[in-house]
């Protein structure tokens, strides 16, 4: 609808009796609605109350969604309307793209997209659109969740392109934790807890180490590295030589990563005879390299003195 035109002036809507909102005398969190929104909502209630599925209803949902994308039944109503009138779902995707770009933080848009793409039974064009979205915010939670759904829906786990794509995202921003998490999903998601083949285990350890060497004070690849070691049920000591590259108690002034120190503390704690070394590492964290978490590092030190605090 053109700006400034209201439904009550529009001959196409003259047969509809709008249902106004009744808020009573003492509403809570009442909002100073614009006239445009109030009126559109009155017409939406009217068409919903009639279960009207029509082109004009579709346009009305578009109007509402642009003002209130979090409306929790307007999306269902839209999707039901599309189905009932046999609308062109490709056109729906075309409309959704700019709408998603306008409302970056909205969840419903992505759920709706899933419904449509599921019906289209094709992921064609979706990767390009995701790339456009991630240019706006490379950590957008909804977009990454949607990407996971695409991978599951279209069985893309074993496609080399998916791994290459996420590797590109990490190359662009090695601190993008969403990208690291997606890598984990690609590598582990289809595995169902089964053992990691030797070659993949090595590839993943090498990749995390390569990224850590680029930026040692970056928790994402450290978490990834330790996650892989835990998944493969390896002792943490397999990371000892690597960790010492960034934090060595013999050179306490040349620590390049608090996460290396933390890992070192855990490695020493695993070796029962090295508890004093573990404490030294935790002390360095508490006093010098990560004092914002001093309380936590001191707590970890206390745990070392407890007989077998099972984790």
């Amino acid at each position: 609808m053109a700006p400034g035109i209201f439904y009550h002036d529009d001959p196409a809507w003259s047969d509809v009796e709008p249902i106004p909102q009744e808020d009573g005398e003492h509403p809570l969190a009442a909002i100073a609605y614009t006239d445009e929104y109030s009126e559109a909502m009155s017409y939406l209630r009217a068409v919903m109350a009639q279960n009207e599925y029509s082109e004009r209803g579709l346009e009305l949902t578009e109007h509402i969604i642009n003002m209130n994308p979090a409306h929790y039944t307007v999306w269902l109503y839209r999707s039901k309307t599309l189905e009932e009138i046999g609308a062109d779902l490709h056109a729906e995707i075309k409309w959704l793209n700019p709408t998603a770009l306008k409302h970056l933080k909205n969840y419903q848009i992505w759920h709706h997209r899933q419904i449509i793409v599921n019906k289209l039974d094709s992921s064609e064009g979706e990767a390009d659109f995701i790339a456009t979205m991630l240019e706006q915010d490379n950590k957008n939670y909804h977009v990454w969740s949607y990407r996971q759904w695409l991978v599951k829906r279209f069985g893309l786990f074993s496609k080399p392109e998916e791994l290459q794509w996420v590797e590109g995202m990490i190359e662009e921003d090695v601190r993008n934790n969403s990208a690291w998490n997606h890598r984990w999903f690609i590598v582990m998601g289809g595995r169902d807890g089964k053992e990691l083949p030797e070659a993949i285990l090595k590839r993943e350890l090498d990749y995390a180490k390569y990224a850590i060497r680029k930026a040692p004070q970056n928790q994402s690849p450290w978490n990834y590295l330790r996650g892989i070691v835990r998944y493969a049920k390896l002792p943490l000591s397999v990371l000892k030589a690597f960790t010492l590259e960034f934090a060595d108690l013999a050179r306490p002034d040349e620590v390049f990563s608090s996460h290396a120190l933390d890992t070192l503390a855990d490695i020493y704690a695993e070796e029962n005879s090295q508890k004093e070394e573990a404490k030294k590492a935790l002390d360095l964290l508490a006093t010098k390299y990560d004092p914002i978490r001093a309380n936590y590092w001191n707590y970890r030190k206390k745990l070392l003195d407890q007989p077998e605090a099972v984790s």
């Binding site: 909102q21 808020d23 809570l28 909002i31 100073a32 993008n176 001093a294």
Partner: protein
């Protein structure tokens, strides 16, 4: 606990009270229009904040309080559950054919019940039995809960937010009793707990669903839900460590580490750039305040030289913020989403409260009252409520004692716990009529 005497930073009570009274008494500006479907939630933020500030009683004369109670009840559906605002109400046009467009809403039902508690209603008109029947229908076969029902199917994400609210509704209406109540079967608690357990991530956090990225909001909802269901993980030292219930969180030590890792020195976008030219971390930059820097490649000569003259890692600990995910910027609401679960797990001592308190008061508290998302941002009801709640959890003088998981004062909670119908379900005797008032009084004066 946080002594204002030793610290310059102060909570401006008068401004906060006037900010919240304005939200209570006047229209929210039209910028809130996009949150029209969150009105019940926002109503809760407004009332719980005023209550925690000790102002709710004086802000609401009896006839207004009663008026708000009536408003909440007009949002109750014949099916028991609540709609989120009158925006979906068809009035006299509502019928069996169109009711699907005006469904019960999980967040609205949870927050409507909490609102009635805050307004000192006895929940006598709440269709408790119908809500509990509805709650069963809202659970999916995998144990998760959704936002609403549509044509028989559970719609909305299947993350812990809705599970938390479902657990909250169950706790409000029937405490921690397991098994059927009033002939209505219990939700499948075990299945839900399993659902929480599998959303643990490789870095120890909790995500929206398995394999998604760890996020403090989901972690908080999960821990709060487990508390409401009496399924928190037991401490290894506890004598009860071997009970036969399925409990939450496979790796508690790793979750604690993940939660304390949310503390960050990246408080503003500019903080990301302090080592931009250095290209690689060094002893001098070994802290997290540059966590978004996109690195070129390996250290250049210039990069190396730039460290030579720098002292090793001395940085200001005046302000510490909290983020919601690894390598993200601090945001007021995440102080709640990260500190509340630590508090519920009995480990808030792992966070140094002083610099977090200073960050909230010096950086995100707004001059007109309330809190913004980030320094300089205008206040909004969501960040303002959660920021205030964190200070209450920290024991800020003059704020009421709160239940972190319910985001509500303990005095309000005690009103619920005194209601005869609820005590009967829990097998408790009648409460002495003055106990609740005494508790209320203590909570306000005690801080």
């Amino acid at each position: 606990m946080c002594s204002a005497a030793n610290d310059e930073s102060t909570l401006n009570y008068a401004r906060h009270i006037s900010y919240w009274r304005r939200n209570l008494k006047t229209f929210l500006p039209s910028i809130y229009q996009g949150n029209d479907s969150n009105r019940m939630t926002f109503g809760f933020f407004i009332l719980t904040a005023l209550d925690v500030l000790g102002d709710l009683h004086s802000a609401l004369p009896p006839e207004e309080r009663q008026g708000h109670i009536e408003w909440v009840y007009t949002c109750q559906l014949p099916e028991g559950c609540f709609r989120a605002s009158p925006g979906t109400d068809f009035g006299s046009h509502r019928n069996a054919d169109n009711a699907k467009w005006d469904p019960g809403h999980m967040p609205a039902t949870f927050f409507a019940l909490l609102l009635l508690v805050l307004l000192k209603d006895d929940l006598g008109r709440v269709k408790r039995r119908e809500i509990l029947i509805w709650l069963n229908k809202m659970q999916r076969p995998d144990g998760s809960f959704g936002e609403k029902l549509f044509e028989g199917s559970v719609e909305g994400g299947n993350d812990t937010r809705f599970g938390y609210m479902a657990a909250g509704i169950r706790w409000l209406l029937r405490g921690t009793v397991e098994g059927p109540v009033d002939g209505v079967p219990d939700i499948d608690v075990d299945k839900f707990v399993k659902c929480v357990r599998i959303s643990e991530t490789y870095d120890g956090g909790i995500s929206e669903e398995p394999f998604q990225e760890a996020h403090a909001g989901f972690a908080c909802c999960a821990i709060s839900a487990l508390q409401l269901l009496d399924r928190l993980p037991l401490q290894p030292t506890s004598a009860l460590a071997q009970d036969d219930k399925i409990r939450g969180i496979p790796n508690l030590p790793l979750l604690l580490k993940w939660l304390v890792s949310r503390q960050t020195l990246t408080l503003e976008e500019e903080d990301n750039t302090d080592t931009l030219g250095d290209e690689i971390d060094s002893s001098a930059t070994c802290h997290d305040s540059h966590s978004f820097i996109k690195l070129g490649s390996y250290p250049s000569v210039g990069g190396r030289q730039s460290f030579d003259t720098q002292p090793t890692s001395h940085f200001e600990l005046s302000w510490v913020g909290l983020n919601g995910r690894c390598n993200k910027i601090a945001d007021t609401c995440y102080a709640y989403w990260a500190c509340a679960p630590l508090h519920i797990l009995g480990r808030l001592d792992l966070v140094d409260k002083k610099p977090v308190r200073r960050w909230l008061l010096d950086k995100t508290q707004h001059i007109v009252g309330g809190f913004g998302k980030m320094p300089g941002d205008p206040p909004d009801v969501y960040h303002s409520c959660l920021g205030l709640m964190v200070l209450a959890i920290f024991g800020e003088t003059g704020l009421k004692d709160v239940d972190a998981g319910l985001c509500m004062s303990n005095s309000a909670k005690s009103h619920l716990e005194s209601l005869p119908w609820r005590r009967e379900i829990l097998g408790l005797g009648p409460v002495q009529s003055d106990v609740a008032q005494v508790f209320d009084h203590l909570a306000v004066s005690g801080g």
